[in-house]
Amino acid sequence: MPKKYSIPTKTSPPRFTPIGKSTILDWEGGCLRCFKCVKRQCIYDVYNERTFDVRQMTDTIDSLCKNCLRCVQSCPGQVITKVVNAEYKRMGNSYWTPDIIRMQWFQAETGRIPVSGAGYGGPFSGPGFDDMWTDMSEIVRPTRDGIHGREYINTVVDLGRSLRYLRFDAAGHVVRDAPEKIEIPIPIILKDLPLGSLSESVFLAMAEAAQAMDTFMIAPVKGWKPYIEPYKTHLIPLLTEAEIDTHGELIRGVRIIEIQLSDVTEARVSRIRAAYPDVLIMVRMRLGERSGEEALALTRVGADILHLCADRDGNVESGNGIRFVKDVVRSVHMRLVEAGCRNEITLFASGGIAMAEHVAKGIIVGADAVAVDIPLLLALECRLCFRCEAGLSCPVEVENIHPEWGKNRILNLIAAWRNQLIEVLGAMGIREIRRLRGEVGRAMFFDDLERETFGRLFGKRKKRESVGN
């Protein structure tokens, strides 16, 4: 059995007090100063540990409190109550909800997967990734005891082209017209950040994390400085048309390059192949209406990897409205399956990958792996306030992090994600992430379940109100 892969985790507390879900209102004026103050009964000791963070103007209770409401319900003078923290509600947007943000912070701090009691409290289903459930198998499955159990559940994926058939030269050696595949031990690569700052320390945090996990980090080459040199084997330069010709030296050290899809990409692919025969070529496609055909054409001209990108909320503009990344990836995958060439190429999906479950779901609908971006920023404590986009200062000074701390936070997050991936794979009875790709039979879709069960009972479903954001 191969050596067990694991991502090292190390508790890495936040530098700023995290924003809590609710806040305590404490009407000191009415306080009876009673001898047996209810505040002492808090089993989480939050009143004792209470401090006021002057830099952020926050009460640490907000982030420590578990909302058990014992203090609220026991105070003799009824002078304590809780209200929603307005700052919490303001974080993110309708896709990147405050709850998602908080969950990634927790994982980045602890490396643990979020566990809670009392059942699920969310909506029945929803748009996007929330309209599918993963399956489980009641009896037959790989045996395993708990998450770090005996059984090895494999999360390795291969990047690159599969040969359709073998060709041999006169000497009997296999002739390859594509570079060897590269294995990465997790179906996740780190993607260039859509916001925030890719300062030197952020760059180093990401690159070191990518290297430690033996996966890749995509970064636009214009930001490349000499300090990237030691990480080159785990970096994927993202090149524009113009840069392809001018950055030859840089390409020498890397194993994969990414180019943006343009009108001339198809011709480009073979020229790059000729110039750099050992480098995998990844093409970044902004998803749209014609993605299936584009993907097919790129597969045929010999691209090794396609990177299917939606916008940061997972949305894709198509002729008749907005479609969600998962549905578009599914149709691209199916187009390649129909054309009989899906196995030749590797597909990455990105955009809207916000939680561990989205990795599993993205793969079920047809991607080999995903590229994540915003969650990395969240690991670095970003609050998705979008101030940086407006040219304002970052409240958590993302650009000034210590690279070692940043690396640990990213490792923690991805380790927690991978463990969750293993949980769902285990529940499905699947030992190999590669087997999950395109296995829609291992998922249940809202529309199908509704049609098969309620549809039979209640007739025709009304059109769903706005899907997406």
Binding site: K21, I43, K66, N67, C68, L69, R70, V72, Q73, S74, C75, Q78, T81, K82, V83, I113, P114, V115, S116, G117, A118, G119, Y120, G121, G122, P123, F124, S125, G126, W133, T134, D135, M136, S137, E138, I139, V140, R141, T143, D145, G146, G149, M355, A356, E357, E423, V424, G426, A427, M444, L449, E452, F454, G455, R456, L457, F458, K460, R461, K462
Partner: protein
């Protein structure tokens, strides 16, 4: 014995002797939470007018002054049109009523603040809350929350007395020579283990279910001696860890439940964190204190229906008077699993849907793995019918049943009865902070083994709260049947024609 359990004699001439008595059992916390807040300013001259007029018991004298209003009983907005609206009637303008701002931090989409508050109200009074509190459905946007009964219009509900409406369901429909066990309401308690909840809650459940002639379930984790007096109302669980399973525990009871999976974490097995494994818990489970305990998934000895049958036969052999229930989760092929359980000889197939509760589960599992119970009920009910074996299996469902209305909807979709857990916890004042697993466990003394925190729950108090909750549910179920012109809950099984889905044309 708790006086509440001494059954009253029912009305003469009815088949039922004894219904547990409802006794008002207020919150154990000083400040109960309600939908509205009533405040009395210092202008109050204690004239007593409000106490005299408010029929909901919000205002009371305390000696010469007025007591703090019991505002959680106030019907708030719905009262404004009443003559007795205290705010208007107060000669001093000393009263104010407003929506409680804490609603915003309470509950979630499935258990909305109003569902929590109404469940607390029922557990206190045994009555359905008056006023405008939504006590039937939550806000999840699908499933039960979008399904409603269509009651025949233009027709008065039947005037049958309560006791002529039957809520009894049989649990053994196989005619396999095993006892005919019946329960008086279509509800029993889900598995909650010694170790996951405090012993007083465990005992309170057993007592409440005994009072209602139904069952509670031990979960996996042993059979504490304190439950022996309630043997006939206890289901004992056999799960993969076999923690605390002994020949004796299997022989004590009338129903043994095989747990294949649980809806909140399907396919993941069980995990009791080390912190909760106190010496007492460890002893019961024949394990080491402080060490986390795993129940692996699945049974490593079961890979086929035949293997499964061997298990069932084993139990039947050890306890010839026991019924066997098989608890499974809800994968795509849940219908096949149910049929497999039938062929293995189970009396009860218990489907646990994906949104159910548990002391601790990975969030990714709670949200994503397996299907909601609403779909599974329909699938399994129909498939068992097609296979011609529906009449021989008892179909019990759980995983997101919160209210009496959910119970009735589940039955109308095709179940015989339901299993609940979270509602019971809410009845004893769980606030759904979802912190059951952290540190010493539940801050409110429910899901904890911490000796000090457990003291927060008094057995008698908890027993009575549960008895009251079911009394309120019973009323509602009877009312639903009456409105549908039915006299027996069994008539409702699979009557999807009585339902409508708000998202369908």
């Amino acid at each position: 014995m708790n006086a509440a359990l001494q059954s009253e004699t029912g009305p003469e001439g009815t088949a039922h002797v004894g219904r547990p008595e409802v006794r008002v059992t207020p919150s154990r916390f000083r400040n109960a939470i309600g939908k509205y807040i009533v405040r009395r300013s210092k202008e109050c001259i204690a004239c007593g007018k409000c106490a005299e007029i408010c029929p909901y018991g919000v205002h009371e004298f305390a000696g010469k002054t007025m007591a703090r209003p019991k505002d959680y009983r106030c019907i708030g907005a719905a009262c404004e049109n009443n003559d007795f609206y205290c705010v208007r009637q107060c000669p001093q303008n000393a009263l104010s009523v407003r929506l409680n701002p804490i609603l915003e931090v309470l509950g979630d989409k499935r258990w909305t603040p109003e569902l929590l508050i109404s469940t607390w109200y029922m557990a206190e009074t045994g009555e359905v809350p008056p006023g405008d509190i939504e006590y039937k459905t939550g806000d999840s946007g699908g499933g039960f929350d979008r399904i409603e009964f269509c009651f025949p219009s233009g027709r008065e509900p039947d005037a049958v007395p309560d006791d002529e409406v039957s809520l009894r369901i049989p649990l053994n429909r196989r005619k396999d020579g095993r006892p005919e066990v019946e329960i008086d309401m279509p509800v029993y308690g889900g598995g909650m283990s010694y170790g996951s909840i405090s012993l007083s809650v465990m005992i309170a459940r057993a007592r409440a279910y005994q009072a209602w002639n139904s069952f509670t379930c031990t979960g996996e984790g042993g059979y504490p001696e304190e439950l022996y007096p309630y043997d006939d109302h206890v289901i004992t669980q056999v799960a993969t860890g076999l923690f605390g399973v002994r020949e004796d525990t299997i022989q004590r009871v009338r129903i043994v439940e095989f747990k294949y999976a649980q809806g909140a974490k399907p396919g993941l097995g069980g995990h009791l964190l080390g912190d909760k494994v106190t010496p007492a818990v460890a002893k019961m489970r024949e394990a080491v204190p402080g060490n986390a305990l795993f129940s692996p998934f699945p049974f490593h000895s079961v890979y086929s229906v035949e293997d499964h049958k061997k298990h069932v036969d084993w139990i039947k052999h050890i306890n010839p008077r026991a019924l066997v229930s098989v608890k499974v989760s809800t994968p795509t092929d849940v219908d096949m699993v149910a049929v497999g359980s039938y062929h293995a000889g189970a009396n009860i197939i218990h489907l646990d849907g994906s949104y159910g509760g548990t002391g601790a589960a990975p969030d990714i599992a709670k949200k994503n793995i397996a299907m909601p119970i609403e779909y599974a009920i329909v699938k399994v009910h129909n498939f068992l019918k097609e296979e011609g074996i529906r009449d021989e299996m008892t179909l019990i469902v759980s995983g997101g049943i919160r209210t009496a209305y959910d119970v009735a909807k589940a039955i109308a979709l095709g179940a015989d009865g339901v299993v609940v857990g979270t509602s019971e916890m809410v009845a004893v004042e769980c606030i759904r902070c979802a912190a059951c697993e952290s540190g010493r466990g539940c801050a409110r003394g429910i899901a904890t083994t911490d000796p000090e925190l457990s003291k927060l729950i008094d057995e008698d108090w908890a027993t009575q709260r549960l008895i009251n909750l079911f009394a309120a549910w019973r009323r509602q179920l009877i009312e639903i049947l009456r409105k549908l012109g039915m006299r027996d809950i069994r008539e409702l099984v699979g009557r999807t024609d009585c339902l409508k889905h708000l998202d369908y044309e």
